[in-house]
Protein backbone atom coordinates (compact mmCIF):
# COMPACT_ATOMS: atom_id res chain seq x y z
CA UNK A 1 0.00 0.00 0.00
CA UNK A 2 1.25 3.48 -0.78
CA UNK A 3 0.35 6.35 1.46
CA UNK A 4 -1.47 9.43 0.23
CA UNK A 5 0.41 12.63 1.01
CA UNK A 6 -2.82 14.63 0.83
CA UNK A 7 -4.70 12.78 3.53
CA UNK A 8 -4.27 12.74 7.31
CA UNK A 9 -3.53 9.56 9.26
CA UNK A 10 -5.45 8.13 12.14
CA UNK A 11 -5.06 5.09 14.35
CA UNK A 12 -7.46 2.31 13.24
CA UNK A 13 -10.43 1.90 15.54
CA UNK A 14 -9.44 -1.64 16.54
CA UNK A 15 -6.00 -0.53 17.75
CA UNK A 16 -4.99 1.20 20.99
CA UNK A 17 -1.70 2.95 21.67
CA UNK A 18 -0.71 2.79 25.32
CA UNK A 19 2.31 3.65 27.49
CA UNK A 20 3.46 0.67 29.57
CA UNK A 21 5.35 1.65 32.70
CA UNK A 22 6.59 -1.88 33.45
CA UNK A 23 8.18 -2.16 30.01
CA UNK A 24 9.18 1.48 29.72
CA UNK A 25 7.76 1.69 26.20
CA UNK A 26 4.63 2.27 24.14
CA UNK A 27 2.68 -0.74 22.96
CA UNK A 28 0.03 -1.13 20.30
CA UNK A 29 -2.86 -3.26 21.48
CA UNK A 30 -5.49 -5.00 19.35
CA UNK A 31 -7.62 -8.16 19.56
CA UNK A 32 -5.33 -10.83 21.01
CA UNK A 33 -2.27 -8.93 19.81
CA UNK A 34 0.48 -6.71 21.09
CA UNK A 35 3.25 -4.85 19.30
CA UNK A 36 6.04 -3.41 21.41
CA UNK A 37 7.14 -0.17 19.78
CA UNK A 38 10.55 1.44 19.63
CA UNK A 39 10.74 5.14 20.34
CA UNK A 40 10.60 6.40 16.76
CA UNK A 41 7.60 4.22 15.84
CA UNK A 42 5.78 5.39 18.96
CA UNK A 43 6.57 9.06 18.18
CA UNK A 44 5.08 8.69 14.69
CA UNK A 45 1.96 6.81 15.79
CA UNK A 46 1.23 9.41 18.47
CA UNK A 47 0.98 11.98 15.69
CA UNK A 48 -1.58 9.93 13.71
CA UNK A 49 -4.43 11.99 15.14
CA UNK A 50 -6.77 12.45 12.18
CA UNK A 51 -5.23 15.86 11.42
CA UNK A 52 -1.57 15.38 10.53
CA UNK A 53 -0.39 14.59 7.00
CA UNK A 54 3.04 13.15 6.16
CA UNK A 55 4.51 16.65 5.84
CA UNK A 56 3.13 17.70 9.26
CA UNK A 57 4.50 14.61 10.98
CA UNK A 58 7.91 15.17 9.40
CA UNK A 59 8.06 18.83 10.44
CA UNK A 60 6.92 18.08 13.99
CA UNK A 61 9.45 15.30 14.53
CA UNK A 62 12.35 17.10 12.87
CA UNK A 63 11.65 20.04 15.14
CA UNK A 64 11.28 17.89 18.24
CA UNK A 65 14.55 16.04 17.64
CA UNK A 66 16.36 19.03 16.13
CA UNK A 67 17.31 17.18 12.97
CA UNK A 68 16.42 16.97 9.28
CA UNK A 69 16.00 14.38 6.53
CA UNK A 70 13.53 12.18 8.45
CA UNK A 71 10.86 12.04 5.73
CA UNK A 72 12.01 8.79 4.09
CA UNK A 73 12.14 6.89 7.38
CA UNK A 74 8.77 8.26 8.47
CA UNK A 75 7.27 7.43 5.09
CA UNK A 76 8.60 3.84 5.28
CA UNK A 77 7.17 3.30 8.74
CA UNK A 78 3.78 4.81 7.81
CA UNK A 79 3.57 2.44 4.84
CA UNK A 80 4.31 -0.53 7.09
CA UNK A 81 1.70 0.69 9.58
CA UNK A 82 -0.87 1.06 6.78
CA UNK A 83 -0.11 -2.45 5.47
CA UNK A 84 -0.56 -3.87 8.95
CA UNK A 85 -3.85 -2.04 9.38
CA UNK A 86 -2.59 -0.12 12.43
CA UNK A 87 -3.49 3.21 10.84
CA UNK A 88 -5.81 4.38 8.06
CA UNK A 89 -6.27 7.34 5.75
CA UNK A 90 -9.96 6.82 5.16
CA UNK A 91 -11.25 10.05 6.65
Amino acid sequence: MNLDTNKPFQLSTTYRLQWEEAQDKFVLLYPEGLVELNQSSAEILQLCNNTNHLADITVLLEKKFETSGLEDDICNFLNIALDNGWITQNA
Partner: protein, 372 residues
Protein backbone atom coordinates in the same frame (compact mmCIF):
# COMPACT_ATOMS: atom_id res chain seq x y z
CA UNK B 1 10.64 -22.39 45.19
CA UNK B 2 13.97 -22.48 43.37
CA UNK B 3 16.16 -19.43 42.73
CA UNK B 4 16.69 -18.12 39.23
CA UNK B 5 19.88 -16.84 37.69
CA UNK B 6 18.59 -13.58 36.29
CA UNK B 7 15.36 -11.65 36.34
CA UNK B 8 13.13 -12.98 33.56
CA UNK B 9 11.26 -10.72 31.13
CA UNK B 10 7.88 -9.69 32.56
CA UNK B 11 4.65 -11.46 31.60
CA UNK B 12 2.82 -9.59 28.82
CA UNK B 13 -0.17 -11.91 28.38
CA UNK B 14 -2.46 -13.19 31.07
CA UNK B 15 -4.92 -15.94 30.21
CA UNK B 16 -7.58 -16.15 32.89
CA UNK B 17 -9.35 -19.49 32.56
CA UNK B 18 -12.34 -18.59 34.70
CA UNK B 19 -14.02 -21.99 34.68
CA UNK B 20 -13.79 -25.43 33.11
CA UNK B 21 -17.60 -25.59 32.83
CA UNK B 22 -18.90 -25.40 29.28
CA UNK B 23 -22.21 -26.17 27.56
CA UNK B 24 -20.29 -27.38 24.49
CA UNK B 25 -18.57 -30.75 24.10
CA UNK B 26 -15.95 -30.13 21.40
CA UNK B 27 -13.79 -33.23 20.95
CA UNK B 28 -10.63 -31.10 20.52
CA UNK B 29 -11.09 -29.04 23.70
CA UNK B 30 -7.80 -27.83 25.19
CA UNK B 31 -8.97 -28.24 28.77
CA UNK B 32 -7.46 -31.15 30.75
CA UNK B 33 -9.19 -34.48 30.11
CA UNK B 34 -9.62 -34.95 33.89
CA UNK B 35 -11.16 -31.48 34.41
CA UNK B 36 -13.92 -32.96 36.58
CA UNK B 37 -11.27 -33.83 39.20
CA UNK B 38 -10.04 -30.27 39.53
CA UNK B 39 -10.86 -28.36 42.68
CA UNK B 40 -12.79 -25.23 43.62
CA UNK B 41 -12.85 -22.26 41.28
CA UNK B 42 -11.26 -19.02 42.40
CA UNK B 43 -13.73 -16.49 43.78
CA UNK B 44 -14.09 -12.89 42.61
CA UNK B 45 -11.64 -11.43 45.13
CA UNK B 46 -9.01 -14.04 44.30
CA UNK B 47 -9.30 -13.24 40.61
CA UNK B 48 -8.99 -9.53 41.36
CA UNK B 49 -5.76 -10.21 43.23
CA UNK B 50 -4.41 -12.16 40.23
CA UNK B 51 -5.41 -9.36 37.86
CA UNK B 52 -3.86 -6.60 39.98
CA UNK B 53 -0.58 -8.40 40.67
CA UNK B 54 -0.16 -9.51 37.05
CA UNK B 55 -0.85 -6.01 35.77
CA UNK B 56 1.73 -4.58 38.16
CA UNK B 57 4.29 -6.97 36.72
CA UNK B 58 3.58 -5.87 33.14
CA UNK B 59 0.77 -8.05 31.78
CA UNK B 60 -1.32 -5.94 29.41
CA UNK B 61 -3.15 -8.39 27.14
CA UNK B 62 -5.81 -10.26 29.06
CA UNK B 63 -7.94 -13.15 27.82
CA UNK B 64 -10.99 -14.29 29.76
CA UNK B 65 -11.44 -17.86 28.70
CA UNK B 66 -12.52 -21.24 30.01
CA UNK B 67 -14.48 -23.50 29.55
CA UNK B 68 -17.14 -20.92 28.86
CA UNK B 69 -16.36 -17.67 30.72
CA UNK B 70 -19.97 -16.45 30.34
CA UNK B 71 -20.93 -19.00 32.98
CA UNK B 72 -19.22 -16.83 35.62
CA UNK B 73 -21.75 -14.38 37.07
CA UNK B 74 -18.92 -12.01 38.06
CA UNK B 75 -17.59 -11.70 34.48
CA UNK B 76 -18.80 -8.10 34.11
CA UNK B 77 -17.25 -7.16 37.46
CA UNK B 78 -13.91 -8.73 36.48
CA UNK B 79 -13.97 -7.04 33.06
CA UNK B 80 -14.64 -3.67 34.66
CA UNK B 81 -11.87 -4.13 37.20
CA UNK B 82 -9.41 -5.18 34.47
CA UNK B 83 -10.39 -2.26 32.27
CA UNK B 84 -9.69 0.13 35.14
CA UNK B 85 -6.28 -1.49 35.61
CA UNK B 86 -5.43 -0.69 31.96
CA UNK B 87 -5.60 -4.14 30.41
CA UNK B 88 -6.71 -4.75 26.83
CA UNK B 89 -9.55 -7.15 27.59
CA UNK B 90 -10.46 -10.07 25.31
CA UNK B 91 -13.40 -12.38 25.87
CA UNK B 92 -12.91 -15.83 24.35
CA UNK B 93 -16.33 -17.40 24.16
CA UNK B 94 -18.50 -19.86 22.29
CA UNK B 95 -21.12 -17.11 22.17
CA UNK B 96 -23.75 -19.63 23.21
CA UNK B 97 -26.46 -18.17 25.50
CA UNK B 98 -24.94 -14.71 25.18
CA UNK B 99 -27.82 -12.25 25.36
CA UNK B 100 -27.85 -8.77 23.86
CA UNK B 101 -28.26 -7.35 27.36
CA UNK B 102 -25.02 -9.01 28.40
CA UNK B 103 -23.19 -7.82 25.29
CA UNK B 104 -24.22 -4.26 26.21
CA UNK B 105 -23.27 -4.68 29.89
CA UNK B 106 -19.83 -6.02 28.98
CA UNK B 107 -19.30 -3.09 26.63
CA UNK B 108 -20.17 -0.69 29.43
CA UNK B 109 -17.75 -2.53 31.69
CA UNK B 110 -14.99 -1.78 29.17
CA UNK B 111 -14.60 -5.04 27.26
CA UNK B 112 -12.37 -4.35 24.24
CA UNK B 113 -12.91 -7.38 22.03
CA UNK B 114 -14.86 -10.63 21.65
CA UNK B 115 -13.58 -13.81 20.06
CA UNK B 116 -16.43 -16.11 19.12
CA UNK B 117 -15.93 -19.66 17.91
CA UNK B 118 -17.88 -21.66 15.39
CA UNK B 119 -17.24 -25.32 14.73
CA UNK B 120 -18.12 -25.47 11.03
CA UNK B 121 -19.94 -23.56 8.29
CA UNK B 122 -22.94 -25.88 8.16
CA UNK B 123 -25.53 -26.26 10.89
CA UNK B 124 -25.39 -30.07 10.89
CA UNK B 125 -21.64 -30.32 11.29
CA UNK B 126 -21.36 -27.40 13.73
CA UNK B 127 -24.00 -28.86 16.02
CA UNK B 128 -22.53 -32.37 15.76
CA UNK B 129 -19.01 -31.18 16.69
CA UNK B 130 -20.23 -28.91 19.49
CA UNK B 131 -22.37 -31.72 20.86
CA UNK B 132 -25.01 -29.01 21.35
CA UNK B 133 -27.43 -27.24 19.01
CA UNK B 134 -25.70 -23.90 18.83
CA UNK B 135 -25.18 -22.89 15.18
CA UNK B 136 -28.06 -20.50 14.61
CA UNK B 137 -27.69 -18.89 18.00
CA UNK B 138 -23.94 -18.37 17.64
CA UNK B 139 -24.44 -16.68 14.28
CA UNK B 140 -27.07 -14.41 15.80
CA UNK B 141 -24.69 -13.59 18.65
CA UNK B 142 -21.89 -12.75 16.20
CA UNK B 143 -24.14 -10.23 14.47
CA UNK B 144 -25.07 -8.66 17.82
CA UNK B 145 -21.39 -8.38 18.74
CA UNK B 146 -20.79 -6.37 15.58
CA UNK B 147 -23.99 -4.37 16.08
CA UNK B 148 -22.59 -3.13 19.39
CA UNK B 149 -19.31 -2.02 17.91
CA UNK B 150 -16.87 -4.62 19.16
CA UNK B 151 -13.95 -5.79 17.07
CA UNK B 152 -14.63 -9.48 16.51
CA UNK B 153 -12.38 -12.44 15.92
CA UNK B 154 -14.05 -15.51 14.50
CA UNK B 155 -12.17 -18.63 15.54
CA UNK B 156 -12.64 -21.95 13.82
CA UNK B 157 -10.59 -24.93 14.93
CA UNK B 158 -9.67 -26.99 11.87
CA UNK B 159 -9.40 -30.77 11.61
CA UNK B 160 -10.25 -33.68 9.34
CA UNK B 161 -14.00 -33.38 9.99
CA UNK B 162 -14.42 -29.73 8.93
CA UNK B 163 -11.37 -28.71 6.88
CA UNK B 164 -13.23 -29.38 3.61
CA UNK B 165 -15.51 -26.47 4.52
CA UNK B 166 -12.71 -23.90 4.38
CA UNK B 167 -14.39 -21.84 1.69
CA UNK B 168 -17.74 -21.93 3.47
CA UNK B 169 -16.07 -20.94 6.74
CA UNK B 170 -14.42 -17.90 5.16
CA UNK B 171 -17.66 -16.87 3.39
CA UNK B 172 -19.44 -17.17 6.73
CA UNK B 173 -16.78 -14.95 8.35
CA UNK B 174 -17.42 -12.29 5.70
CA UNK B 175 -21.18 -12.58 6.17
CA UNK B 176 -20.84 -12.16 9.94
CA UNK B 177 -18.58 -9.12 9.61
CA UNK B 178 -15.55 -10.59 11.38
CA UNK B 179 -12.57 -8.25 11.62
CA UNK B 180 -10.14 -11.13 12.12
CA UNK B 181 -10.43 -14.83 11.38
CA UNK B 182 -8.34 -17.35 13.23
CA UNK B 183 -8.11 -20.64 11.36
CA UNK B 184 -6.51 -22.74 14.04
CA UNK B 185 -5.39 -26.19 13.06
CA UNK B 186 -5.97 -28.52 15.99
CA UNK B 187 -3.03 -28.96 18.35
CA UNK B 188 -2.93 -32.47 19.74
CA UNK B 189 -3.10 -32.27 23.53
CA UNK B 190 -5.79 -33.27 25.98
CA UNK B 191 -9.06 -34.14 24.28
CA UNK B 192 -7.64 -33.64 20.79
CA UNK B 193 -4.93 -36.22 21.47
CA UNK B 194 -7.62 -38.70 22.54
CA UNK B 195 -9.33 -38.09 19.19
CA UNK B 196 -6.23 -37.71 17.03
CA UNK B 197 -7.01 -40.58 14.66
CA UNK B 198 -10.33 -38.96 13.78
CA UNK B 199 -9.10 -35.34 13.71
CA UNK B 200 -5.69 -35.29 12.06
CA UNK B 201 -6.13 -34.15 8.45
CA UNK B 202 -4.21 -35.52 5.46
CA UNK B 203 -1.42 -33.55 3.81
CA UNK B 204 -3.62 -33.13 0.75
CA UNK B 205 -6.51 -31.69 2.78
CA UNK B 206 -4.14 -29.25 4.44
CA UNK B 207 -2.64 -28.09 1.16
CA UNK B 208 -6.08 -27.46 -0.32
CA UNK B 209 -7.24 -25.60 2.78
CA UNK B 210 -4.11 -23.48 2.96
CA UNK B 211 -4.42 -22.52 -0.72
CA UNK B 212 -8.01 -21.35 -0.14
CA UNK B 213 -6.96 -19.40 2.96
CA UNK B 214 -4.23 -17.68 0.94
CA UNK B 215 -6.67 -16.66 -1.80
CA UNK B 216 -8.97 -15.09 0.78
CA UNK B 217 -6.06 -13.44 2.57
CA UNK B 218 -5.35 -11.58 -0.67
CA UNK B 219 -8.93 -10.78 -1.62
CA UNK B 220 -9.83 -9.62 1.91
CA UNK B 221 -6.76 -7.49 2.45
CA UNK B 222 -7.72 -4.29 4.22
CA UNK B 223 -11.13 -5.71 5.27
CA UNK B 224 -10.63 -8.89 7.24
CA UNK B 225 -7.34 -10.24 8.53
CA UNK B 226 -6.98 -14.00 8.25
CA UNK B 227 -4.59 -15.87 10.51
CA UNK B 228 -3.77 -19.43 9.55
CA UNK B 229 -2.27 -21.37 12.46
CA UNK B 230 -0.06 -24.09 11.03
CA UNK B 231 -0.60 -27.73 11.89
CA UNK B 232 2.70 -28.75 13.43
CA UNK B 233 2.42 -32.50 12.75
CA UNK B 234 3.00 -31.80 9.08
CA UNK B 235 6.08 -29.68 9.67
CA UNK B 236 9.66 -30.68 10.27
CA UNK B 237 10.61 -27.68 12.41
CA UNK B 238 8.89 -27.28 15.78
CA UNK B 239 6.88 -24.22 16.83
CA UNK B 240 8.43 -21.70 19.20
CA UNK B 241 5.99 -22.72 21.87
CA UNK B 242 4.62 -19.90 24.03
CA UNK B 243 7.27 -17.60 22.54
CA UNK B 244 9.64 -19.30 24.98
CA UNK B 245 8.65 -20.82 28.33
CA UNK B 246 8.08 -18.25 31.06
CA UNK B 247 8.95 -15.29 28.84
CA UNK B 248 5.59 -13.85 27.80
CA UNK B 249 2.55 -15.93 28.79
CA UNK B 250 0.97 -16.60 32.14
CA UNK B 251 -2.11 -18.81 32.42
CA UNK B 252 -4.16 -19.05 35.58
CA UNK B 253 -6.42 -22.12 35.67
CA UNK B 254 -9.88 -22.05 37.29
CA UNK B 255 -8.51 -23.50 40.56
CA UNK B 256 -5.68 -20.97 40.79
CA UNK B 257 -2.87 -23.11 39.37
CA UNK B 258 -0.40 -20.87 37.56
CA UNK B 259 0.76 -22.43 34.31
CA UNK B 260 3.53 -21.42 31.89
CA UNK B 261 1.28 -22.81 29.15
CA UNK B 262 -2.31 -23.96 29.38
CA UNK B 263 -1.32 -27.60 28.79
CA UNK B 264 1.41 -27.64 31.44
CA UNK B 265 -0.69 -29.17 34.19
CA UNK B 266 -0.59 -32.51 32.39
CA UNK B 267 3.19 -32.72 32.85
CA UNK B 268 3.74 -35.29 35.63
CA UNK B 269 5.06 -34.23 39.06
CA UNK B 270 5.39 -30.71 37.78
CA UNK B 271 4.04 -29.02 40.88
CA UNK B 272 2.71 -25.83 39.32
CA UNK B 273 2.34 -23.12 41.96
CA UNK B 274 -1.08 -21.90 43.08
CA UNK B 275 -2.08 -18.26 43.49
CA UNK B 276 -3.78 -19.23 46.77
CA UNK B 277 -0.30 -19.82 48.22
CA UNK B 278 2.01 -17.50 46.28
CA UNK B 279 2.04 -14.02 44.78
CA UNK B 280 2.27 -13.68 40.99
CA UNK B 281 5.75 -12.19 41.36
CA UNK B 282 6.98 -15.21 43.35
CA UNK B 283 5.36 -17.54 40.83
CA UNK B 284 6.77 -15.80 37.77
CA UNK B 285 10.26 -15.07 39.05
CA UNK B 286 11.03 -17.83 41.51
CA UNK B 287 8.91 -20.93 41.05
CA UNK B 288 10.53 -24.14 39.84
CA UNK B 289 7.80 -24.63 37.23
CA UNK B 290 8.28 -21.24 35.55
CA UNK B 291 12.09 -21.52 35.63
CA UNK B 292 12.15 -25.12 34.46
CA UNK B 293 12.51 -24.50 30.71
CA UNK B 294 13.89 -20.96 30.83
CA UNK B 295 17.18 -20.52 29.00
CA UNK B 296 18.84 -23.63 27.56
CA UNK B 297 20.59 -25.31 30.52
CA UNK B 298 17.82 -27.94 30.60
CA UNK B 299 18.38 -29.02 26.99
CA UNK B 300 19.54 -32.44 25.85
CA UNK B 301 20.72 -33.34 22.36
CA UNK B 302 19.76 -32.68 19.62
CA UNK B 303 18.56 -29.33 21.04
CA UNK B 304 21.70 -28.47 23.01
CA UNK B 305 23.93 -28.08 19.95
CA UNK B 306 21.20 -27.00 17.50
CA UNK B 307 21.63 -23.72 15.63
CA UNK B 308 17.87 -23.06 15.96
CA UNK B 309 17.70 -23.45 19.74
CA UNK B 310 17.18 -19.71 20.30
CA UNK B 311 14.52 -19.65 17.61
CA UNK B 312 12.26 -22.56 18.60
CA UNK B 313 13.45 -23.24 22.19
CA UNK B 314 13.23 -26.99 21.56
CA UNK B 315 9.56 -26.75 20.53
CA UNK B 316 6.68 -27.80 22.72
CA UNK B 317 7.59 -29.53 25.98
CA UNK B 318 4.08 -30.86 26.57
CA UNK B 319 4.15 -32.50 23.14
CA UNK B 320 7.59 -33.97 23.92
CA UNK B 321 6.20 -35.46 27.12
CA UNK B 322 2.99 -36.77 25.57
CA UNK B 323 4.72 -38.47 22.64
CA UNK B 324 8.12 -39.47 24.08
CA UNK B 325 7.52 -39.65 27.83
CA UNK B 326 10.13 -36.98 28.65
CA UNK B 327 9.37 -33.24 28.48
CA UNK B 328 13.10 -32.49 28.15
CA UNK B 329 13.31 -34.31 24.84
CA UNK B 330 13.13 -32.29 21.65
CA UNK B 331 9.59 -31.81 20.39
CA UNK B 332 9.16 -34.89 18.14
CA UNK B 333 7.75 -32.64 15.40
CA UNK B 334 11.40 -31.64 14.85
CA UNK B 335 13.03 -33.56 12.00
CA UNK B 336 16.18 -33.88 14.12
CA UNK B 337 14.36 -35.64 16.96
CA UNK B 338 15.12 -39.37 17.23
CA UNK B 339 11.37 -39.73 17.95
CA UNK B 340 10.25 -37.91 14.78
CA UNK B 341 8.99 -41.18 13.30
CA UNK B 342 6.22 -41.17 15.93
CA UNK B 343 4.69 -38.22 14.09
CA UNK B 344 4.72 -40.14 10.80
CA UNK B 345 3.18 -43.17 12.51
CA UNK B 346 0.41 -40.92 13.90
CA UNK B 347 -0.26 -39.47 10.43
CA UNK B 348 -0.33 -42.96 8.85
CA UNK B 349 -2.61 -44.20 11.61
CA UNK B 350 -5.03 -41.30 11.07
CA UNK B 351 -4.99 -41.86 7.30
CA UNK B 352 -6.51 -45.31 7.87
CA UNK B 353 -9.82 -43.54 8.60
CA UNK B 354 -10.66 -44.87 12.02
CA UNK B 355 -14.17 -46.21 12.62
CA UNK B 356 -13.85 -45.24 16.29
CA UNK B 357 -16.45 -42.59 17.23
CA UNK B 358 -15.27 -39.19 18.51
CA UNK B 359 -14.90 -38.94 22.26
CA UNK B 360 -16.77 -35.78 23.22
CA UNK B 361 -15.62 -33.51 26.02
CA UNK B 362 -18.15 -33.95 28.80
CA UNK B 363 -18.24 -34.85 32.48
CA UNK B 364 -19.04 -38.51 31.89
CA UNK B 365 -16.08 -39.00 29.56
CA UNK B 366 -13.83 -36.89 31.77
CA UNK B 367 -14.61 -39.07 34.78
CA UNK B 368 -13.88 -42.26 32.92
CA UNK B 369 -10.59 -40.85 31.55
CA UNK B 370 -9.58 -39.65 35.02
CA UNK B 371 -9.89 -43.24 36.31
CA UNK B 372 -7.66 -44.60 33.51
Amino acid sequence: MAGSLKTPSPPRWLLAELTYSCPLQCPYCSNPVDYTNIGDELDTEEWKRVLKQSREMGAVQLGFSGGEPLIRKDLEELVQYSHQLGYYTNLITSGYKMTEARIIKLKQAGLDHIQISLQASSKELNDFLAGTKTFEEKKKTAKLIKKHGYPMVLCVVLHRQNIHQMEGILEMAIELGADFVELANTQYYGWALQNRDQLLPTQQQLQQAEAIAKTYQQSQQGNMKIYYVIPDYHESRPKACMNGWGTTFLTIAPDGQALPCHSARQLPNFDCPNIREHSISEIWNKSTAFNYFRGDDWMKEPCKSCADKDKDFGGCHCQAYLLTGDAKNADPVCGKSPHHKKIHIAIDQANKNSEQPLLFRNSKNSKSLAIQ
